[in-house]
Amino acid sequence: MSEALLSVRDLSVVFAGDDGPRTLIDNLSFDLGQGEILGLVGESGSGKSLTCRSLVRLMPSPKLAITSGAVMLDGRDLTKVSEADIRDVRGRDIGMIFQNPTSHLDPLMHIGDQIAEGIRVHRGVDGKAARAAALDILAQVGFPHPARQYNGYPHEFSGGMRQRAMIGVALSCDPRILIADEPTTALDVTIQAQILKLLMDLRESRGLSVIMITHDLGIVAQTCDRIAVLRQGKLLEIGGKRDLLGRPQHPYTQNLIASHPSMPARQAAMSSHIVHPTAVVPKARPLIEIDDLHVRFPVTGRGLFSGGPREFSAVKGVSLQVMPGETVGIVGESGSGKSTLARALLGLTPISDGHVSFDGADIVMERAKALSKLRQETAMVFQDPYNALNPRLTIGTMLAEVLAVQDSVPKERIPERIGELLDLVGLEREFAGRKPLSMSGGQCQRAGIARALAVNPKLIVADECVAALDVTIQAQIVDLFRDLKRRLNLTLLFIAHDLAIVRSLCERVVVMYHGEIVEEGPTEDVFSAPREAYTRALIDAIPDIDPDKRLVPPRGGDALIEETSGLVTDEIS
């Protein structure tokens, strides 16, 4: 490593709360070298984002203050310089990109202008020169038609292009350091791979130093030179990625690495759990039969290229059978129709064409009968655990209500049953008296699963139910599902964009693309020998935790061509 460009010494940040001060960042020290990519890894709440915001003194709350330590850049201590000087550092020396490009781009401003603005402010050039420079940056961050796309608004672009635009904005002032805060968490795997590649290319071409904040060890393994592991505001471990991933010193780091779903050893151990579909009683009737299902939504307003109203097909002719007791994974990028398929199957979205039957009852032909059956025998687990629970009800009240409405348990046995359900999902019984906001994401998700189980379901549909959780919690929830499935003989439909998790949990996998099933088969077969180029692109795009297994820039699959071909209207998902 060359001489440190930025060095952080004993940085502490304290939150002055109502119940006394709390130290959120505790004596943190690290260096960032010229042209280096440093990964900051840790669970949510570990202080990764706060650390990076403290570097440029962008505190998310006035109650937060840097109490000690120094941030040295060019011999200046950024914690001590004046407000005007730090403003100059922001953007010119240190650029930032964030997780959600949609909320960090101005929706009413051309993306080109947003880039040009930074150039004018920090480089003091006139409008024309700024525009030329902005066009150059658009091309660098991978916009294929900069001149035309300069005047596009953020909503006209897909998530990946927006993230490119945001990187463009960050680069506009030619910073030496780029802080990337979970830059790809909101993106699909294939797009994630492209953005990571872009960041690495930029490092090559501009000598940029990058601090990459992420919870995904696969990403740091693929992109970073050094890794720092944070927990509860403390630096647990820092070192070269090969050392750290190969020989983690701290037990927490070891656990983090073990939780990563792409670990080959773990996969091998898991595949032994998997019951092969042939083990299902062969003469059993399929629990779910989907035959040539179409779901179409009317699109109001005018399309970008075609005038007049039109229909959007979310699901186009899908046929699928699920046997009782089977675990089927549905994977695909956002907008591929996986959630719509699940909702249609549960009778929550009107079906345009085709047939769906659940346990012999056809949703279209015998709607009332099928719906009452569905409501009593299926349940859903959602992506965002906080959104999925009514914030005003305690967990106990919520479960009691489900039990009362379902009328499956006699009234006097309800409290007992609530206790059993909480035991089943591994929550202490005292959680019955708590509200979602006083619980962690993982605990909420367990409560959500308890609600699903309260129905005594035959089928659980889990829609991206671990996507919003930390890796270690993800692993726990997946283990919980595996355990419940075995104990309760559940049929599980597991929708995810994270292929590694699907691979470890599901017996059979269905790959969806643009509303159609492109590939289907036993999980191991599909993952080891994908037949379709699209499936292969999806699998190759998973960042592996082994730094020597290079992240292959995804090839094939027209998704990618479309992604980069310019203005892409938002799909309805």
């Binding site: 549960l346 409501r375 999925a388």
Partner: protein, 278 residues
């Protein structure tokens, strides 16, 4: 009881605005309840010898052109004005909340019908509509309440409907649907409590508006009838003496302002407490 109220008390104590507002409102409520005890004179007793007396120790707020004690009239007026503010808001609130919940959640034709009705009501100026309804029903407070209920609910309906449109796509609404909960249960038990905060806060500022329209209606002679003491009526009666006997108008006017202040402080504090503003 005390144990259950303890967290609420802590929440209130941390918010000085809410605390100040609640203290003001409680004070007015106490004045209204104890009016017969604390008012030194009969509010409608006329005394020809004591006309247009300026404030003094015997008559702290002075007397009006009929020789009535303004201090006593202001105290008795608290009863009427509090009643106007509360009843004038409760019915619009209940109607508007129900309509908004149903329109927003059920959608479709129900929504279209209610929204057009709202458009029609909003097409007329507020006061003109109020006056015509009262003109049909005959002057008096009762007519005022009915007119208020018929006109005032639209704002609540629109507020709640907008919230419902957002909330019905939230995951816990979908979850409730997939668990076989009935429509009314989802609407009123699960979604409404999460949608209502904005309306509760608005109802506080609405109290102020109702208070002022009550005063305006009384000023026009269509609300509270003389000789009953009501602040709006008192201001109206005092206006012809404003240059010579300012106290007739000033003290009831100040009372309106103070009560309104109490409501809006409470509304502000409630907004903070219920997390309407993040």
């Amino acid at each position: 009881m005390t144990a259950a109220l303890a967290p609420a008390w802590v929440a209130v104590r941390r918010r000085p605005t809410l605390l100040a507002g609640l203290i003001l409102l409680t004070a007015f409520l106490l004045i209204a309840l104890t009016a017969p005890l604390i008012a030194p004179y009969d509010p409608i007793l006329q005394n020809g010898d004591l006309r247009l007396q300026p404030p003094s120790w015997a008559h702290p707020f002075g007397t009006d052109n009929f020789g009535r004690d303004i201090f006593s009239r202001v105290i008795w007026g608290t009863r009427v004005d509090l009643q106007i503010a509360v009843i004038g808001v409760v019915f619009p609130f209940l109607i508007g909340t129900t309509v908004g919940t149903v329109a927003g959640y059920v959608g479709g034709k129900v929504d279209i019908v209610f929204m057009r009705v709202i458009d029609i009501i909003l097409a007329f100026p507020f006061l003109v509509l109020m006056l015509s309804i009262i003109a049909i029903l005959g002057p008096g407070l009762q007519s005022f309440y009915i007119a208020m209920a018929l006109v005032g609910w639209v704002s609540y309906a629109r507020l709640i409907r907008a919230q419902m449109l957002v909330l019905k796509t939230v995951d816990y609404a979908t979850a409730a649907l997939s668990l076989g909960f009935s429509g009314p249960r989802i609407m009123f038990r699960h979604l409404l409590p999460n949608a209502i905060a904005g309306s509760v806060v608005f109802s506080m500022s609405d109290c102020v508006l109702v208070l002022l329209s009550g005063a305006a209606i009384s000023y026009l002679g269509l609300g509270v009838q003389p000789p009953i003491a009501e602040w709006g009526v008192m201001v109206a009666e005092g206006q012809s003496f404003i240059t010579t006997a300012w106290w007739i108008t000033l003290f009831p006017g100040l009372s309106i302002v103070t009560l309104a202040f109490g409501f809006s402080l409470t509304g502000d504090g409630l907004g903070d407490l219920l997390g309407v503003r993040e």
